[in-house]
Structure formats: C-alpha cells, structure tokens
C-alpha cells in the first residue's frame, strides 16, 4: 500500500469516528446504531497502520494488489451496514402499519360510543 493511501484512510477513519461521537452527544444518533460505524473506522485505522499484515493476507488470498483487498473489506462492511439498515426500515414500517391500524380501530370505537 502506498503511503498516501494509508494517510487518506487514517484521516477518513478519524473523521468518521469523530462524527459518530459528536452525533451521539447531540442525540442525533443512537449508540447501538453507531457501533458498526465505529468498528468500521477502527478496522480501517488498523489496516493502514499494519499495512504489512494486509499485504501478507492479500498475497495469501491471491489479490493482485493489497489495495484491492482493502476495497473488498470496505465494500463488505458497507453491504452489511445497508442490510442492517434495511431490516430496521422494515421493522419501522411494520410498526407504523400497526399504529395506523390501531388509530383507525380506536377512532371507529370512539365514534360508535
């Protein structure tokens, strides 16, 4: 890995880490939801510091260049993150639907009485 890439990775990870923390303090992000982001940034920082290990693993796995391995890890991380978000949205959807039904039934009852 080139030194520039390592520096970019470290800076980006630090920024995302700091963003997470400030958002939690402002109560705009829940702690449970931010854990995956923080794990992701820590992973990136580790990969840029211990680039020798990354090179060794990517060589063993047969990647053309270590940077490809880094990208693969990031893509995998993003896929997991979107999947988790998808599940959350579906759960919220169900909850809103139940509320919607509840209000309709309640209104109906109060109108009848």
């Amino acid at each position: 890995m080139t030194i520039t890439l390592r520096i970019i990775l470290i800076i980006c990870s630090l920024i995302s880490f700091l963003l997470c923390i400030t958002r939690i303090k402002q109560a705009k992000l829940k702690v449970e939801n931010s854990v995956t982001w923080m794990i992701g940034s820590i992973l990136l920082i580790f990969m840029s510091i211990f680039s020798g290990a990354v090179e060794w693993i990517s060589n063993k796995l047969g990647f053309m260049a270590p940077v490809n391995f880094v990208f693969l890890v990031i893509i995998g991380f993003l896929l997991i993150q979107t999947f988790i978000d998808n599940i959350r949205i579906s759960t919220l959807n169900e909850k809103i639907k139940d509320l919607n039904h509840y209000i309709a039934l309640k209104e109906y009852k109060s109108k009848k009485d």
Partner: protein, 229 residues
C-alpha cells in the same frame, strides 16, 4: 355463520355508494369499508350515507387495508371474511355462492374465479395470470385458474393465519402459503364487470413490479412454508 364483507377503498368516492347498495340489495351480510386515506371525498361520502367505515390516517396500500379488515373480523368474532373490491368490478350476488361453499365445509378459501367454466382470453394481463398460475402449479401441484382474482372468501382458520402473520398479502402468493398450510381452496365461477370510474391499484407500470414480486415470493418464500408453526 357470521360473515363480514371487507371492502378496501382508495379514491372510490364515485363507486362506493353503488357498491354498498349492490351489497345491501343482494346480501344480508355485514360489511366494513376500509378507507385507505383517500385523497378524494370517499370518507365524507361514507359518513354522509352512514356506512360502516374504518378510516386509516396514512395511506398504506391494499395489503394493509385487507389486514385491518381481517383484524376487525377476528376481533368481532366473524366466521367468514370476504374480500370484495369497492370499485364496482365485483358483483355482490356472487358472494353467497362463495360463502355457501365455506359453510358447507367444502373448502377453507373460496375464490370467485372468472375462468372455471369459461376460457381465458389471450391478452397481456392474462399472460401474467397464466405465469402466476404456472408458478403455483409448480410449487403446490394445485391448479388455480384465476389466481389474481380479488374476490375471495376466507374461513376462520384463514382469518387467524392472516392476523398472526403480518407478511400475508391479499395476493396469489398467499394462496401458496395457505395451500402449504393444508387449507383447501376452491374456485367458483363468477362474472366481473369492467371498472366504471377511477384507477385501479395496479397501474400498468406497476404490473411489472407486481409480477416480479409475485414470482420471487411464490418460488422462494412461500414454496418453503412448513405445515406446522
């Protein structure tokens, strides 16, 4: 047996009066209109005529409407729930044929089918119907001639399944689920008229999406439904 007719309505101000009149003249069953947050004055029309109406505060689609109807049927102890469109396509005189089949315990779900004794016309819409029927045949071995028909009667067992499983829709994939749960399905010949006013839930652009959803649901999700649980 206590029977409830569920009429989902979205922007049906022009049709709903006629539908309810038809229902009252031809049957003696209870009914409930599910007003899915219509943008027109469906709600006012229902209230003016003193119809039995449940009004949803947010538009959530046909599935949510039918599920609410099923909840209502379950909570009020109905034995049979009939799904009946509020747009004037369905004719109320056929409801008693469906209900009779369930009362005589010939089946758990009765479908008002257009093609029991009549032949399917060759059009794009019917191609979709054939494909879905084929998918049902492959996964369950059962022949259903009009799987997309929106006129269905469910008995207590089916109502209970609907209330317990929030993923069930009033669409053909649910039929596969019901068959896998050992429920018996029977088709009864009915006539349907063309829409008079308003737009259907299934617009042309959406029908492609609908087909893809149905295929994935039937082949990959409902096909592996287990008998118990």
């Amino acid at each position: 047996m206590k029977t409830l007719v569920i009429i989902p309505a979205y922007n049906e101000a022009l049709n709903i009066e006629k539908t309810v009149k038809d229902l009252k003249n031809n049957t003696k069953y209870d009914y409930v209109i599910i007003n899915d947050c219509s943008k027109d004055n469906t709600k006012e029309v229902c209230e003016k005529n003193n119809f039995n109406v449940l009004s949803l505060p947010i538009n959530y689609g046909l599935t949510s409407g039918i599920q609410l109807g099923m909840k209502y049927a379950y909570q009020n102890g109905y034995d049979i729930a009939v799904q009946f469109d509020g747009d004037g396509q369905h004719q109320a005189k056929y409801i008693k044929d469906l209900v009779k089949e369930i009362e005589e315990e010939n089946c758990d779900i009765a479908i008002g089918s257009r093609f029991v004794s009549k032949k399917k016309p060759k059009s794009m819409r019917m191609l979709g119907s054939r494909l879905i029927a084929g998918a049902i045949r492959i996964t369950t071995g059962k022949k259903i001639k009009d799987p997309t028909s929106g006129m269905r009667a469910y008995n207590k067992k089916a109502i209970e399944l609907f209330v317990k499983n929030a993923s069930l829709t009033p669409e053909p994939d649910t039929l596969v689920y019901m068959i896998k749960k050992q429920l018996k399905i029977k088709e009864i010949q009915v006539e349907m008229s063309d829409r008079e006013f308003g737009e259907s839930y299934l617009k042309p652009i959406k029908s492609m999406e609908y087909m893809i959803n149905m295929f994935f649901s039937i082949l990959f999700i409902r096909a592996i439904t287990r008998k118990n649980i």
